[in-house]
Amino acid sequence: MSIDLSQFHQSFFEESSERLQEMETALLALDPAAPDEELINTIFRSAHSIKGAAGTFGFTDIGEFTHLLETLLEEVREASRTIDDDAVSTLLESVDCLKVLLDAERDGTDKDHEQIDTLAQALRELIEGEGAGGDPAPVTDEGAAPAEPAAPDEACFEVRFAPHTQLLITGNEPIRLIRELGRNATATAQVHPATIPAFASLDPVECHLAWTIRVQGDVTEEAIREVFEWVEDECDLEVENLTAAAPTDANDTKDETDSAAAPTPASEAAPAETPVESAPETAVAEPSATPVSDPAPAPDKAPVAEKAAKPAAPTDAKKAAPKAPASASAPSKPKETSIRVGIEKIDDIINIVGELVITQSMLSEVGEDFDMSRIENLKSGLVQLQRNTRDLQEAAMRIRMLPIGFAFQRFPRMVRDLAKKLGKQIRLELSGEQTELDKTVMEQIGDPLVHIVRNAVDHAIELPDERTASGKNPEGTIHLSASHQGGNILIQISDDGRGLDTEKILGKAIERGLVDPSEASELDESAIFRLIFAPGFSTAEAVSDLSGRGVGMDVVRRNIKELGGSVDVHSELGKGTKITISLPLTLAILDGQLVRVGDQIYVVPLVSIVESLQIAADNYNRIGRNGEVYNIRNEYIQIVRLHDAFGIPTSSDDIMGKLMVVVEDNSGKAGIVVDDLLAQQQVVIKSLETNFQKVLGLAGATILGDGTVALIIDVEGLIRLSKTTPHKTPRAASTEEPAAEGGAE
C-alpha cells in the first residue's frame, strides 16, 4: 500500500543541494545594511522547499533544523527583524550544517548531533533574542503562542480534514498526512464516506472522503497545521483545540462555505485505513510541485498575526513552489552522478538524428538500385553522412559540457570566510562563468582552483593597512575569469596583491636545494616563477592554517597536467599576480600522432611531443651498460626504445637512422624510438579499464578508421616503465618475456 519513497530520494538530495546553493549565493549577495527583499524571499523559499520535502521523505532532522531556519527567515521577511552580519554568518553555517545532514542521510552515515544542536541553539537564541524586541511590527499575539517550544503536555486536538476532490490529482495522499499526524502523538481517525457518489459516476482519481482525526499527545496546533500545509488550498481544514485550557484560536482561515463534505465530529463510519485503500497509487508526486497546480488562492483573509504563527502560510507555499528558474545545476558532490542538460542541447541532438535518418534513407535508396550513373548521388550522400556524424559527435559532446560557473560558485563564500578570518578586505570578481567545459575536467579542476584562490587570499592580498600604506585601495581584488581559446579553455586567477618576489623565491629555492646557487643567476624571471610549482616549495613566511605547508602548487600543477593542461604564472612585484591555467575542453578526444613500432600502431598524445628527428650516430651516447642518451642541442635526453619497453619484436636492434619522437613530461624529456611516423589525427579515448585493467605506460586505447585498436601511450608511465626495462645488449631473444629481468619499481 505504502509507496516506496526511496526512489525519490536521489532527486530530493540533488534538489536540496541546489536549494542550499541558492541559499548560499543569496546570503552572500545579501547586504545587511539594505537587505534586498527578493534575496530574502529566495533564501526563504529555498529553506521552505527543503523543509517540505524533508518532511515528506521522513528526514526529520533536516526538517526540524530547516524549520528553525525558516522561522528566523520569516521574521526577517516580515521585516520584524533586522539582519546583521553575524546573523548572515550563522545562516551560512546553517547552510553548511544542512549540507552535512544531507550528505549523512544520503550516505546513511551518522550525523554530528553536537554540531546540529549547537547551531540549532544559536538559531533559537537569534529567534528568541531580539526577534520580538526591537521592532514595532506586531510579531506575537496569542496566535503565535503555540509556536513557542514550550511543550504542552497531552494536548488534544480534533482535526476535521475534508479534501477537495482534486487532492489526489495534485499528488497528495491523505493517508500519509494522517500517518504523519500520528508520528509523535496518538491519532485516531474516522472517515466520512458520506459523499461518495454512485459507483457508475465514481471517478477513481477523485477523493470523496473526509476525516475526523483526534490527535492526542505532545503536539501543537502549529505542528498539525504544518502537516497539512501542502494541501491547505485543496481541502477544508479545521483544527480545534480540545485541551481543557483556553482554546487559542480564532483559527479557521478557510472559508467553510463549500464544505459539502464537512465532517461532523465523532460520528459513524469505518476506520480511516480502509477507504484509503481505494486511493489510486498515482498519488505520489514531487511534493514541491503540488501547490502550483492550484491557482485559486484566498490568502488575503489570513490576518498577519496568523501568518506569523505559521511560518508556512499558504501564500508562502505558493511562492515556494515555482521552481527557481531553469538554472541547470550540478550538486557539488554527487555520489550517483547525474547531469542536468539544457533542453536545447537535447533538441539539437534530436534534430541531427532526424537529418541522419534522412541521409540514411537517401543512401539506402541509392544502394538499392545502384549503377555507376548514380555515383555522384552516393558521394554526396556520404558527404552528408560525414557531416551528420560530425555534428552528432559534437552535439553529444556538448551534453557533457557545463558552464564553469559551477566550479566558481564556491569561491564567493570561501573568499568571504577567509577574508573575515584574516581581517582582510577582498572583493571577488567573476567573469566568463558561462564558458562551458567538460564535466569531468570541471570536477577535477575544482581543487586546484581552490588552492590557488586560497593562496591569493592568504598570501597575495595584503592587510588593509599595508595596502593603504602602499597607496592601494584597502580592498583587494581577486579576479577569476574563464574564456575559450582555440580548443582550450583558459582560466585566469589574478589579484592585485603584493606579487611574487623573485629574490625571495630564488633564495628559498636555493635554501631548499631546488636550484644550484651557481645557476641562480642564469634563471630568467619566468623560470623563477615556475619554481613555485616545484615540489616542496612554499613562500609563505609563516606556515598558516590556510596554506603554506609546502605541498601546494606542485600538486596544483600535477593535477592540471593530468588533465592535459598547463599552468603559467605572471607577476609584478607590488602589483599583483596572474595565474593562467589552460585546459583541454574535453578528455574524450585527443590529438594524437600515430607511430608504428614493429607491426603495432601506437598513439602518442600530440601535446607531449616536442619534436621528431632522425637519430644520428654523432649525438648518440651510452651511459654504463644500459643507459642511452641522445644529445639534442647540448641537452642530453634519455632514449626509450619502445620495442624493449613494450616487448615488441623488431627487425633490427640498430637504432641509427631510425626516427625518434621527443616527448616532454613532468619527469623531463625523453626520446621514443619508433619505426615510422604515421598520420596525425584526433582520436577518441577509450578506457582500457572498463573491461580490462590499467596498464603501465598506456593511457588508454582508441579505434582507428579500419576498426583496429591502437593503444595510446602515457608518456610519463612509459618513461617510468623504460627505467625498469633497460635495453639489453645483446638483446634477450625472447619477446614473450618482455620484462623478466626488469626490477620492480
Partner: protein, 173 residues
C-alpha cells in the same frame, strides 16, 4: 527449493530446471560456461597486443566500439599452445563482478553444443591438482556419457591479471 546437491555454494542457486551451458573444446576435453554469460561467438581475428602482459592475454579487440581483452584459455590453463585454425573461436562473455560489468573474450579450439544440465547431473569439482586451476571450475557434469567441465565465468574475469595492475617484473609468471 530442492536441497543443494553439493556443499559448493556455487550450485545453490540453481533452479529445478537446471541451467544451459554452452560447451567448447580445449584439447580433448569439453568445457562449459553458463549460456547466460555468453554475449556472442565470433571468429578469431587480429588483436592488438597489450605490452607486458602474461602470455595468455592475447590482446584487445574492438567489439563494436568497446575495447575488450581476449584470453587464450589453453594458455591460461597451462595446456600446450596450438596454431589458431579455422575452428578457433572467441566466445565473448559478459559477467558482473564487484558491481561492474565486464566483457571479455576467451579463445577456444572450437564451440561444441548447448546442453541442459539439471542439478542432479552436477558434481562438485574434484581436486584437479596443478594441471588446471580448480578455482575456475564450478562443477562437473555428466551429460550424454560425456563429462563436461563447467567453468565459472565470473572467476575467470576476477583473475588477477585482468583486474590488478601487473607489475612488469611479475608479468611473466
Amino acid at each position: 527449493m530442492t536441497p543443494p546437491v553439493s556443499p559448493e555454494d556455487r550450485l545453490d542457486n540453481r533452479t529445478d530446471a537446471g541451467q544451459q551451458f554452452l560447451t567448447f573444446h580445449l584439447r580433448e576435453e569439453e568445457y562449459g560456461v553458463d549460456i547466460l554469460c555468453v554475449q556472442e561467438i565470433k571468429g578469431w581475428d587480429q588483436v592488438t597486443q597489450i605490452p607486458n602482459m602474461p602470455e595468455y592475454v592475447k590482446g584487445v579487440i574492438n567489439l563494436r566500439g568497446a575495447i575488450i581483452p581476449l584470453i587464450d584459455l589453453r594458455l591460461r590453463f597451462g595446456l600446450e599452445e596450438v596454431e589458431y585454425g579455422p575452428t578457433t573461436v572467441v566466445i565473448v562473455l559478459k559477467v558482473e563482478s564487484d558491481g561492474r560489468e565486464r566483457t571479455f573474450g576467451i579463445v577456444v579450439d572450437a564451440v561444441s553444443d548447448v546442453y541442459d544440465v539439471t542439478d542432479d547431473q552436477l558434481n562438485p569439482p574434484p581436486d584437479l591438482g596443478s594441471a588446471i586451476n580448480v578455482n575456475y571450475v564450478s562443477g562437473l557434469a555428466a551429460v550424454e556419457e560425456k563429462m563436461l567441465i563447467l567453468l565459472d565465468a565470473e572467476r575467470l574475469v576476477t583473475d588477477e591479471a585482468l583486474t590488478r595492475s601487473v607489475d612488469p617484473s611479475e608479468a611473466t609468471v
